[in-house]
């Protein structure tokens, strides 16, 4: 077993592809014993211990690497007769099975929730699919982009005069995986009380829809269809677009004109800073921010305010503006890329990054850390396991399969 900060008393069999990687990763972060089960045939090199990938696409490899930390790994051809029996034995000793196959696939193998729970009624099975186990879209093909679109996020993201856009690092499956982890733990908590397991049906489309904030409500009670608005933001003022992303000397910063007490202070402090640097704008200085009504201010009012601010930002670098904003209490953040994120002092101070040594990828000194900090201690990161790395440990030591049997299973290609 991998040693983590917390040893949650659960064994999880993780059969997921990329749609569900993050679910097992979160459960692993929280100290569950997560065992990834992959079919030997999924490994094109058919060589135990090799990095499992059908394509050499870099983004896909990194996605695999990121979300398979904190898991053990075994191989099993659970489509074969012998493999099914072994899977049932594994499931008998497991608390959770997570899977992301097409609806009906597990049942077609005789390994659906009903069959497994006959022998292990306290098992929680979590199924992660693009649209859920039933309904008219149940068999629809999906990808990160199509789910981002059907979940509603694309339509409100990007420039108004162009197509709706994605985030250029896939998001949809991560929301689905995180939702699945939350649901699994709710079911496990319930099981602690009365011992009963159940089947969880996660819809990735719905998980994406939960990132929409107020979009649906704007239609529901106001009859307004919110649209994407580029560097401006929408959904707050009903009367005007407000600039959110501004150019500066060496990049961009994010600064909104906010209402409420905190926002008024932030706005006033920026104006004072501008004055100190000789940018005087009588109409700007005259605004009483605590009375500035965000929800009814006109476009003209916003434009006037924004012209002066834009001139000020263009004179400064991201770092100057961020540092100045921190010192003065202004709500401004720089637009960071991966490089600046890696150098961020707050992340360093909190020990966010992990040092991971992987036999194939070498040493990774800035492996993104676990988001879980409990009473001051961050949960550990164990490097992603090699495919089948824990076959012996799991099959022999924990499942009690004899060496002879193991050998014949290997020869038959089951393991």
């Amino acid at each position: 077993m991998l040693q983590n900060g917390w040893m949650m008393p659960y064994r999880v069999l993780d059969l997921c592809d990329e749609k569900g990687f993050f679910c097992g990763r979160i459960l692993g972060d929280l100290g569950c014993d997560v065992i990834r089960v992959t079919k030997p045939g999924d490994d094109p090199t058919r060589k135990a211990g090799s990095f499992n990938h059908k394509t050499s696409d870099q983004q896909e490899r990194l996605f695999w690497l990121a979300y398979n930390a904190n898991k053990r790994s075994i191989t099993l051809d659970f489509e074969s007769t012998a493999g099914k029996e072994i899977f049932k034995r594994l499931a008998q000793k497991a608390d959770v099975v997570i899977e992301s196959f097409s609806p009906g696939y597990m049942a077609s193998l005789g390994l659906g929730h009903e069959e497994i729970s006959n022998t292990n009624p306290s098992l929680v099975m979590t199924s992660i699919t693009p649209f859920g186990q039933s309904g008219p879209y149940r068999d629809f093909k999906a990808s990160d982009l199509t789910l981002w679109c059907l979940g509603g996020m694309a339509y409100v993201s990007g420039d108004p005069d162009r197509a709706p856009v994605q985030v250029s690092s896939p998001q949809s499956y991560l929301h689905g995986g995180a939702a699945a982890a939350a649901a699994t733990l709710i079911a496990l908590y319930h099981r602690e009380l009365n011992g009963e397991g159940q089947w969880i049906d996660v819809s990735i489309q719905e998980a994406v829809a939960h990132t929409l904030m107020n979009v649906v409500q704007f239609w529901d009670v106001c009859g307004i269809i919110l649209k994407r608005s580029g560097v401006f933001r929408t959904g707050l003022s009903t009367a005007a677009n407000q600039r959110l992303i501004w150019r500066c000397k060496d990049g961009y910063v994010n600064f909104p004109i906010y209402a409420t007490t905190g926002g008024a202070q932030s706005n006033a402090k920026l104006v004072r800073w501008m004055e100190q640097e000789g940018i005087r704008d009588e109409s700007l200085s005259a605004i009483r921010w605590e009375e500035f009504d965000l929800s009814s201010a006109s476009q003209e009012q916003f434009n006037r305010v924004e012209d002066s601010i834009a001139r000020f930002f263009e004179k400064h670098t991201m770092d100057e503006l961020y540092q100045g904003a921190i010192e003065r209490g202004i709500m401004l953040y720089p637009v960071y890329g991966a490089k600046e994120i890696q150098e961020d002092p707050q992340l360093m101070a909190r020990g966010f990054w992990s040092n991971v040594v992987h036999p194939e990828f070498g040493e990774i000194t800035f492996f993104p850390g676990s988001p879980f900090v409990f009473s001051g201690e961050r949960q550990n990161i164990h490097r992603p396991s090699l495919i089948g790395e824990h076959n012996e440990e799991v099959y022999s030591a924990e499942l009690g399969i004899s060496d002879d049997e193991l050998r014949s299973l290997r020869q038959a290609g089951v393991i």
Partner: protein
């Protein structure tokens, strides 16, 4: 059905805005008893932001605020009143979990730091989520998710390579918190049941959001390459885009991941000859000529309804999806309707409106949406008398003195 999954779980919910309330809503949806504590003197941000029913502002009229707080009891306190402590003490005694998402230091000001809570109830679980986490030199920066989206890399990664970055809609990083937060709370509760130990959960929104772009952070860590926005292009498929359809601002995504799917697409487009064009033959070639392919596809999609196009492509096994609006989700999506993703509840001031269910269904203990988001202080009397056990006289005093409002 065997009741709700979280029946008997008690949560004192001090959260506000989006990330915190949505985390706790998922618990309330599954039967946890939640008291949502709000300041009676400084109404929370979302109560003063639209959308209001019929665009008429009012503290109890913001539909989004309501949607993050259904199934919760509403308690409104003057947190700075000297007698507020009497209510808070009882509340902490009652609670299994205390949830909050203020800047670090705010709870301590009210005598509600983790150290304070432990003195009242040693096994308590405190869930804190803030922008930067509870520790570190920048822990107390007072900004919102709307800006954190930029610090956490999402702005840089979203938009067109020839334009300024735009970021995804809204305070997107807030939406990375709720499921991760629920997982943390549940894990802490399970551990507490088994060991008797409580804990202080410290979830940084910055760090959690970064877990949603780990691949590009690894790309830099391992290869020193900074990934940047590339419209709707993909490193795995081509063509891969969102295409204009018939009607005003209607769009449909099409994602092709194999030569086989490309051939199918050409046939559906009524252009089988394109499948034989050598410069479109492989993924790599299609990627090199993606602008040209995008123009060909757009010419075909432009006069077709988006839904019809999606269904036609799905029938031959191509991943396609309409870029749905809020209206589409609520009124036209047959899948969401089938799963009853939205539930209608009647709110005192907003009237009938729709609430989202969690994106998962537990077979034996599904979510149940029973009550709309509370009006400010709607359940003061019920909470004080029935849940916290204040005698009538004491409750009247608290009201008269303005502790409760």
């Amino acid at each position: 059905m065997t009741g709700n999954a979280l029946t008997g779980l008690r949560v004192a919910d001090f959260t506000w805005s989006v990330a915190g309330p949505l985390t706790v809503k998922f618990l309330a949806d599954h039967g946890a008893e939640v008291i949502h504590v709000e300041s009676a003197t400084r109404p929370e941000l979302l109560r003063v932001l639209p959308p209001y029913r019929n665009r008429q502002p009012g503290l109890n009229r913001s539909a989004y605020n309501a949607c993050l707080n259904n199934n919760k009891y509403g308690l409104s306190l003057d947190m700075n009143h000297p007698r507020a402590k009497e209510v808070l003490q009882k509340l902490i005694h009652w609670a299994d979990v205390v949830a909050e998402n203020f800047s670090p230091g705010v709870m301590a000001k009210w005598g509600l730091s983790y150290e304070d809570l432990v003195k009242i109830k040693p096994e308590i679980i405190m869930f804190s989520t803030s922008q930067m986490g509870q520790t570190g030199p920048r822990a107390r920066i007072g900004a919102y998710g709307t800006q954190l989206v930029s610090l956490a890399g999402f702005t840089h990664l979203t938009g067109w390579p020839d334009r300024d970055p735009t970021g995804p809609y809204g305070p997107y990083t807030d939406t990375t918190i709720p499921h991760v937060g629920v997982a943390a709370i549940m894990a802490a509760l399970i551990r507490q049941r088994r060991t008797g130990k409580g804990t202080h959960i410290d979830i940084s929104q910055f760090e959690t959001a970064l877990n949603f772009i780990s691949p590009i952070l690894l790309e830099y860590a391992m290869n020193h390459r900074v990934t940047t926005r590339r419209g709707n292009r993909s490193s795995r498929g081509a063509p891969h885009g969102v295409y204009r359809c018939q009607g005003e601002d209607r769009w449909c995504a099409i994602a092709i991941f194999s030569d086989e799917e490309w051939k199918k697409l050409c046939r559906v487009m009524g252009r089988p000859e394109l499948a034989a064009v050598p410069r479109f033959a492989s993924f790599q070639q299609r990627q090199e000529n993606e602008n040209e392919i995008d123009r060909l596809i757009s010419a075909w999609t432009a006069d077709q309804p988006a839904e019809k196009l999606m269904n036609m492509l799905q029938q031959v096994g191509i991943a396609a999806g309409v870029a749905q609006t809020g209206k589409d989700l609520l009124e036209h999506d047959p899948q969401l309707a089938h799963r009853r993703f939205f539930r209608e509840l009647e709110h005192k001031e907003i009237g009938k409106h729709h609430y989202e269910t969690p994106p998962f269904r537990l077979s034996k203990t599904p979510c149940e949406l029973t009550r709309p988001g509370p009006c400010l202080g709607e359940h003061n009397e019920y909470v004080c008398k029935k849940i916290l056990g204040f005698p009538d006289k004491e409750y009247d005093d608290l009201m008269a003195e303005g502790v409760l409002r």
